[in-house]
Amino acid sequence: MAEEGSVRSLSCPACGGTIAMRAAGYTVTLACEYCGTLIDATDPAARIITRYNEIQASLAIPLGTRGTLRGVEWEVIGWLQRSDGWVIWDEYLLFNPYAGYRWLIAQNGQWSLGTMLTSAPQRDGPDQIVGSRRFTPFYGGNTARVMRVAGEFYWRVKPGEEVRASDFVRPGFMLSLEQDDREKSWTISELLTGREIRAAFDVDPPPVWIPGMTPLAHQPSPYVRRIKGWWPIAALSFVVLLVLLSLFGRTMQPQTFSLSATPDGPTVTQTFGPIVLPLGKQAMTVEAFTPSVEQGWVDIDISFVNRKTQDSYDAYALNERYSGRDSDGYWSEGARSQTLKVASLPAGTYDLVVDAQAHHWGSSGNWAFDASSATYKAEGLLPIEVNLMVARGARFATNFWLALLMILVPPLLMLILHIMFENARLAQKDGSSADADDWLQGMQSP
């Protein structure tokens, strides 16, 4: 039952010698191996060969190429290019006489393996279910038209041939319904990884998605996998961070000192000590408390001065308190206590040098002209007591928050990219706009 075709031999018109075929890209030269005579390009045989060669050279996978995909050896026997008016894609027909046919669908450099279904999917509302996989509607009622075709197909495909197509998706998979007035067929295509398609047919790897590119309808977000893989690491890191936070930074060996300063009086400087720091490096916590400051402020400069090296570690506190009465009643503001944390003091013996200067705010009290500073100053106010509690060690909450932020930045970045990816993917959806279910489905792993 073989269909016979007519064949003819091609030999040199000048000497009858063997013709050699040399193909370089799109052009083919047919030349006699013996006398060098070239076959005229308008010769029907040359035209047939050149035409075939042109198509072959333009294909990502030349017809006749064999490759092993998922354990089955396939030969690429046909190629067609289709368009729905918006996008153009290529479809390669794979054949193995013992395994049947499969489709390799290439769009935007991404490759999918399509298998025709022998049973109809199960309908559930707008969704379709195949086996245990649920597909949601994505493209509806488009017309797919054959633009170009070459090679063999199990039907005689012609350019211009049209089918009505609807597509349903889930991450990594697309379920396509194609129908005309003669048949209705369902195909599931599965997105192939770059590694898989490269190993089988040695094509260029699919491009990595960057913002601005349009993903395929069934392309899974590459960020979901990362977020899912990363969150246990982030959680574990957070727990470790909490442990470290509780282990380090306890305050020890508190010492208290006090001095007093008169409001608007001179700066009081006093040295306390010794403060002995036995080992390593440590932070120091200084709590400066001025219980009696009222309608005024106290500038407190503290310095830990190493007795041996005279290295100085400084900090500054401003304790203040104002109050009054207005139409809303009594008000008060300002903090009478400040906690200072001084970083990284090496072991050694230190003096604590404290400068305190108290100021009075407002018009109450007695005022007298101070000739030395040429200003009026309040007189007769009670001196303000400055209590200092100095302890070894300090717990810096800022370090904790900074570390937490740094742990969370990469997953948050992935989340933002995921949202951008899904936005770009779902923007192509036909029919009702993307809803929460579409976003939830996008979070699923293929």
Binding site: V149, G151, R182, E183
Partner: protein, 227 residues
């Protein structure tokens, strides 16, 4: 696979693909060019070229054995059907119990089908087909207690047959062929020709599930090991 004799030296030249227009003879190194329509595709009205149909390289042959409908079978005959733009095979299975069944082979997929009687209460879609009323793909109806939908409808013509057949199938015999499928892999086929309508039901299969033996050895391809 198509083999022709080299026009120059007479040696066998095998064209592995009908889409391949040229082949060098292994013996005399002459360029052998295929000039038939199928070799480079037909030029269509749109100015493009149509695809060519593959050579009929079925893995099944007369004498192939296997298991279907829970019993052993042997392939004893075949009818090849064609429609405007394609063709498929129907292989006749002789089952162990002496009955016959068909193994339809199209697009690399297999349908095992047994004839059922067209009597009793029939689905409306079948009645309409029997009365030559047009039916569309996607229409549904009950056949033998199962719900099916119409998958494809074609007017077909017998283009060849071989082996033993339960009827005489002259080449050029026209028939209407309608395929049905359902959700769990079952299928049905309705055929109407000049002898009247007939209905077959069965299920889709793949080659491996037939546990085939004595498959046709195709040059260039390795026979898969089944079972």
């Amino acid at each position: 696979m198509q083999s022709v004799a080299c026009p120059t030296c007479g040696a066998e030249v095998v064209f592995r693909s009908p889409a391949l227009p040229v082949r060098v003879c292994d013996y005399c190194r002459t360029l052998v060019v295929r000039y038939n329509q199928d070799a480079q595709g037909q030029v269509t009205e749109n100015g493009g070229e149509a695809a060519v149909l593959p050579f009929d390289i079925s893995p099944i042959q007369i004498g192939t054995e296997g298991n279907c409908f829970d019993q052993d079978f042997q392939i004893i005959g075949r009818v090849r059907w064609a429609w405007d733009d394609g063709a498929w095979n129907e292989w006749l299975m002789l089952l162990a119990d002496g009955s016959h069944a068909w193994l339809g082979e199209a697009m690399g997929q297999f349908m095992a089908l047994r004839e059922v009687e067209l009597t009793g209460s029939l689905a409306q879609v079948i009645r309409r087909l029997m009365n030559d009323t047009p039916v569309k793909p996607g229409e549904s109806g009950n056949i033998a207690g199962q719900s099916y939908e119409v998958a494809d409808i074609r007017t077909v013509r017998c283009i060849g047959c071989e082996g033993e057949l339960p009827f005489t199938a002259p080449v050029g015999w026209d028939a209407l062929s309608v395929d049905f499928r359902n959700r769990d892999g079952r299928c049905a086929s309705f055929q109407k020709d000049r002898h009247g309508p007939s209905l077959y039901v069965g299920h889709h299969m793949n080659l491996a599930s037939l546990q085939p033996r004595h498959l046709r050895q195709l040059p260039g391809w390795s026979l898969p090991a089944y079972g």
